[in-house]
C-alpha cells in the first residue's frame, strides 16, 4: 500500500515537474542554475544587486528574464498553422 502511494506521489510530482517545464513556469530557475554554473554568456545593461554568475556576467531579475524571454520567443516563427 505504502509502495503504491509512493509511486502515485512520484507520478504526480513528475507530472507537475513536466507541466512547469513545459509552460515556462520553471524557466527562470533553469536560467539561474545555468547562469550560476558560469555558462551564461549574455551581458545585460539592467543589472540587479550586482548579482553575477560564476563567469562574471550579470544575472537578470525574474522580471527582466521574463521580458527578455518573450522578446526572443516572439521574434521568430514559433507557431505553426
Amino acid at each position: 500500500m505504502l509502495a503504491v502511494s509512493s509511486k502515485v506521489r512520484r507520478g504526480f510530482a513528475g507530472l507537475w515537474w513536466w507541466l512547469r517545464q513545459l509552460s515556462g513556469d520553471a524557466a527562470y530557475e533553469s536560467y539561474l542554475r545555468s547562469a550560476r554554473a558560469g555558462r551564461s554568456s549574455h551581458r545585460s545593461g539592467n543589472r540587479r544587486n550586482n548579482c553575477r554568475g560564476n563567469d562574471g556576467t550579470a544575472i537578470l531579475s525574474r522580471q527582466e528574464f521574463y521580458l527578455d524571454s518573450l522578446r526572443r520567443k516572439y521574434s521568430g516563427v514559433n507557431r505553426c498553422c
Partner: protein
C-alpha cells in the same frame, strides 16, 4: 523468449492496424464506428514509429548520441537550453499543432471520410514525419540553423532567398484564410463574438499579472485566465438572450473582418507582454485540454461516422470547395499529413533545445504523429454529423441558398437528407440564429465536438455551452496564430524592406514598427476582406491557395534534405526524402495549374475573373455591385499571379538542386557539407546517451 514475445506483440499490432484500415476502406452503405479510425491510425503510428522511424534514425541519418548537441555546447540558459525529451516533445507539439489539422480534414470531408483519412495516415508516416525529423536533425548538426540558412548553404544562395519569400507569402495567405475561418464562425453570433471579445481584456489582465504582480508565474496566470474564459463562455448565453447586448455583439462578416484587421495591427504593434504572450499561454492550455477531451470523448462515445466513404463530390463539383479528389484532397489537408511550415519550427527553437541527437526521433517524428492523430480526430468529429447537416453548414449561400428550405431542397437533390425544421432546431439548441452557410470548417467541427462532449457530459441541455466552448477554443488559438504570425511577418517586412529603405529596417524605431505592421496587416487584410465579400465564400479560393503554398514550402524542405543526404553519401537511402518530395511536386504543380488555368470558374482563378468580366461587360451586374465585382476580378487575377510566382520560385529551386545533384553524382564537384565539427558529449558515455538527465533533473554542465 523476450524476442519472441516482442515479435508477437508487434505482429499483432501490425495485423490489427491492417484490419482497422481494411475495415474503414471496405465499409459501404451503413455508418461505421469511430473506434475503427482510432485503431487504424493508432496501430499504424505505433508500427511506423517503432520500425520506419528507427530505420531512418539508424540507417539514413545515423544519429550519434555521443555527439554533443548545440544545446550542450552553446548552453546559455536562454536560446540554447538542454531540455528533457518529454518536455521538448510537448513544446514541439504545441508549436506545430495549429488550426490546420482541425480545419483541413473538416473541409476535405466533402470527398467522404476515406480519402482524407488515408492521406492523413500515409502522408504523415511517409512524408510529414520524415520531413520534420530530417530537418530537425540537419538543423541540430548545424547549430540550429534555419531552413533558409540551410537552403542557402547546402543548395544555393538563391535557395535561401526563395525560402524567405515563400515563408512571407505563405504567412500572408495563412493569416488571411484563418482570419476568414474566424469571421465565418462568429458572423451573426453574439454568444461566440462576446466570448472571443472577452479574451482580449482577460489576456491583458494576465499580461499585467505576469509583468507586474507575479513576473513569469505562467501557471498561476493561466489558471486565472482559464477560469475567466470559462465564465465568459457561460455568460455569453445571457448576453445573446438580452436584445440590447445581443445587438451590440451581432456583427456582419465585413464588420468582423475589419475588427480582426484592427486586432492584428494592435497585437503586432503593442508590447508583446501585454496581449500576445498571455493570449498564447491561455490558448496553449485550452488547446491541449480540448484536444485531450476530444480524444477521450471519441473513445468513450464511439460515435458512428455518418459520412459515406466517398461522396459524389470526388468529381470536382463539391460545394465546400471545387476540385477533384486528385490533387485537391492532398493540398486541402496539409497540416496533419505534410506541412512545410513545420520545417520552420524544426529548424527554429527545437534544435537549440535538444539534449541528445537520439531524441530527434521522438521529438521530430513522434510530435508529427500526434498532430496527424489530431487530424484524424477532426475528421471523425466532422464525419459524425449527417452529410446533410455537414453540407448545410459548410456550403456558401450562392450554392445552397440562404434559407433552411432552399438548402434542404438543394442538398436533398444531391442525395443527402436534410430536414429544414431540424436545421432550425439544431441552431436553436446551440444558441445560434442559424448554422447555414458557415463555410470554413470551424462551426461544423464545433458542432461535431459539441455532440461528442454532450454525449459524455450534460446531454443536449449543455449542447450550446459545448458548441460555444469549441468555437471559443478554435477561434482563440486561430487568433493566437494570427497575432504571432503578424508579428513575425512584421519582422520579415522590416528585414526585407530594410534592404531597400534603411529606416524600415530599424527594429526598435516606433515609426518602422507601425509602418511594417501596417504593411503586413494590409497584405493579409486585403485577402481576408475579399474572401469575406466573395459570394462563393472565400474559402473556395483561399484554402487551396494556402494548401499549395504550404506544400510548396514542404517541397523546399525536402529538396534541402535530399541534397544534404546526397552530400552525406546516402544515395542508397535517398528515396526516403525523394519519394515524398516527388509526390509533393506532382500534387502542387497539378493543383497550381488547375487553380490558374482550369476553365471551370469555380476552380480556375482566371476563368472566374473572365466570367465576371464578361458579366460586367454585358451589363448583368447591378450598379451597386459594380465596384465589388471589379475588386473581385482584380483579386482573382492577384491569386493567379501569387500562385504562379510561388510555383516559378520552386521550379527555380528544383532546377538548381537537380544541377547540384548532377555535379555531385558525376563527381564534377566535391560535396561540401556545412556541419558543425564533432564534439564528444560531456554528459554520459554512448551506451547511456539519451537517458540522462532524468525527469526532475536539469543538466548543469560537467555531468556524468
Amino acid at each position: 523468449m523476450k524476442r519472441v514475445a516482442k515479435f508477437a506483440v508487434w505482429t499483432a499490432l501490425a495485423l490489427t492496424g491492417a484490419w482497422g484500415i481494411a475495415t474503414i476502406a471496405m465499409q459501404r452503405g451503413e455508418p461505421i464506428n469511430a473506434t475503427w479510425f482510432v485503431i487504424a491510425a493508432g496501430c499504424t503510428y505505433l508500427v511506423a514509429y517503432r520500425f520506419y522511424s528507427a530505420f531512418v534514425a539508424a540507417r539514413v541519418l545515423s544519429l550519434d548520441s555521443t555527439r554533443a548537441t548545440p544545446a550542450e555546447r552553446l548552453d546559455d540558459g536562454r536560446d540554447f537550453v538542454p531540455t528533457h525529451k518529454w518536455v521538448l516533445l510537448g513544446h514541439h507539439f504545441a508549436a506545430i499543432a495549429g488550426p490546420g489539422p482541425l480545419v483541413g480534414p473538416t473541409l476535405a470531408a466533402q470527398f467522404g471520410y476515406l480519402p482524407g483519412t488515408l492521406w492523413l495516415i500515409a502522408g504523415a508516416v511517409l512524408g510529414g514525419c520524415v520531413q520534420d525529423f530530417v530537418i530537425l536533425f540537419f538543423s541540430i548538426r548545424r547549430d540550429g540553423k534555419s531552413l533558409g540558412q540551410m537552403a542557402r548553404e547546402e543548395v544555393s544562395r538563391r535557395g535561401g532567398f526563395i525560402a524567405q519569400i515563400a515563408v512571407l507569402a505563405i504567412m500572408v495567405i495563412l493569416l488571411a484564410v484563418i482570419g476568414l475561418v474566424v469571421v465565418n464562425a462568429l458572423r451573426s453570433s453574439p454568444w461566440a463574438t462576446f466570448t472571443l471579445a472577452m479574451t482580449v481584456p482577460i489576456a491583458m489582465l494576465m499580461g499585467v499579472y505576469l509583468r507586474v504582480w507575479r513576473p513569469g508565474r505562467v501557471l498561476e496566470a493561466s489558471a486565472l485566465g482559464v477560469v475567466l474564459v470559462m465564465l465568459a463562455v457561460v455568460t455569453g448565453q445571457w448576453v445573446a438572450d438580452v436584445p440590447q447586448w445581443a445587438r451590440l455583439f451581432t456583427l456582419s462578416g465585413p464588420a468582423l473582418a475589419v475588427a480582426i484587421i484592427i486586432y492584428g495591427f494592435a497585437a503586432s504593434a503593442l508590447p508583446v507582454w501585454l496581449l500576445l504572450a498571455p493570449r498564447d499561454y491561455l490558448s496553449a492550455f485550452i488547446k491541449v485540454a480540448a484536444i485531450l477531451a476530444l480524444a477521450g470523448g471519441i473513445l468513450i462515445v464511439r460515435p458512428a461516422v455518418q459520412m459515406p466513404a466517398f461522396t459524389r463530390f470526388v468529381d470536382g463539383n463539391g460545394p465546400v470547395f471545387a476540385g477533384k479528389i486528385f490533387p485537391f484532397c492532398f493540398i486541402t489537408i496539409a497540416c496533419g499529413a505534410v506541412s512545410g511550415f513545420h520545417a520552420l519550427i524544426s529548424s527554429g527553437t527545437t534544435p537549440k533545445m535538444i539534449m541528445c541527437e537520439g531524441h530527434a526521433r521522438l521529438v521530430g517524428y513522434g510530435a508529427m504523429l500526434m498532430e496527424s492523430f489530431v487530424g484524424v480526430m477532426a475528421m471523425v468529429a466532422a464525419c459524425a454529423l449527417t452529410p446533410g447537416v455537414y453540407f448545410a453548414i459548410n456550403s456558401p449561400a450562392a450554392i445552397i441558398g440562404a434559407t433552411p428550405e432552399a438548402a434542404a431542397a438543394t442538398i436533398s437533390s444531391w442525395g443527402y437528407v436534410l430536414d429544414p425544421q431540424m436545421m432550425r432546431q439544431l441552431a436553436q439548441m446551440v444558441g445560434e440564429q442559424t448554422l447555414l452557410n458557415r463555410a470554413g470548417g470551424a462551426p461544423s467541427l464545433a458542432l461535431g465536438m459539441a455532440q461528442i462532449f454532450s454525449s459524455t457530459i450534460g446531454g443536449t441541455r449543455l449542447l450550446g455551452i459545448w458548441y460555444h466552448f469549441a468555437i471559443m477554443f478554435e477561434a482563440l488559438f486561430i487568433l493566437t496564430v494570427l497575432d504571432a504570425g503578424t508579428r513575425v511577418g512584421r519582422f520579415m517586412v522590416q528585414d526585407l524592406g530594410g534592404r531597400f529603405w534603411k529606416p524600415l529596417g530599424h527594429k526598435s524605431s516606433y515609426t518602422s514598427i507601425l509602418l511594417a505592421s501596417a504593411l503586413i496587416v494590409a497584405a493579409w487584410g486585403h485577402f481576408l476582406y475579399q474572401g469575406v465579400v466573395d459570394p462563393l465564400g472565400g474559402i473556395n479560393s483561399l484554402w487551396p491557395l494556402f494548401g499549395i503554398a504550404n506544400q510548396l514550402l514542404a517541397t523546399v524542405a525536402l529538396v534541402v534534405a535530399t541534397t544534404i543526404l546526397l552530400k552525406m553519401g546516402r544515395l542508397r537511402w535517398i528515396w526516403v526524402t525523394l519519394v515524398p518530395m516527388a509526390w509533393l511536386v506532382i500534387i502542387t504543380m497539378t493543383a497550381s495549374y488547375q487553380k490558374i488555368f482550369d476553365p471551370n470558374p469555380r476552380i480556375g482563378f482566371l476563368a472566374y475573373a473572365n466570367v465576371l468580366t464578361a458579366q460586367l461587360a454585358a451589363g448583368k451586374i447591378p450598379a451597386d455591385r459594380i465596384a465589388e465585382t471589379s475588386r473581385l476580378i482584380f483579386n482573382q487575377r492577384l491569386d493567379a499571379a501569387v500562385t504562379a510566382v510561388l510555383v516559378l520560385m520552386i521550379l527555380v529551386l528544383l532546377v538548381e538542386a537537380c544541377w547540384q545533384w548532377y555535379t555531385i553524382l558525376s563527381r564534377r564537384s566535391a560535396p561540401a557539407l556545412h556541419e558543425s565539427p564533432y564534439v564528444h558529449t560531456r554528459w554520459t558515455d554512448a551506451s547511456t546517451a539519451g537517458t540522462v538527465p532524468t525527469i526532475g533533473e536539469t543538466p548543469t554542465g560537467g555531468g556524468a
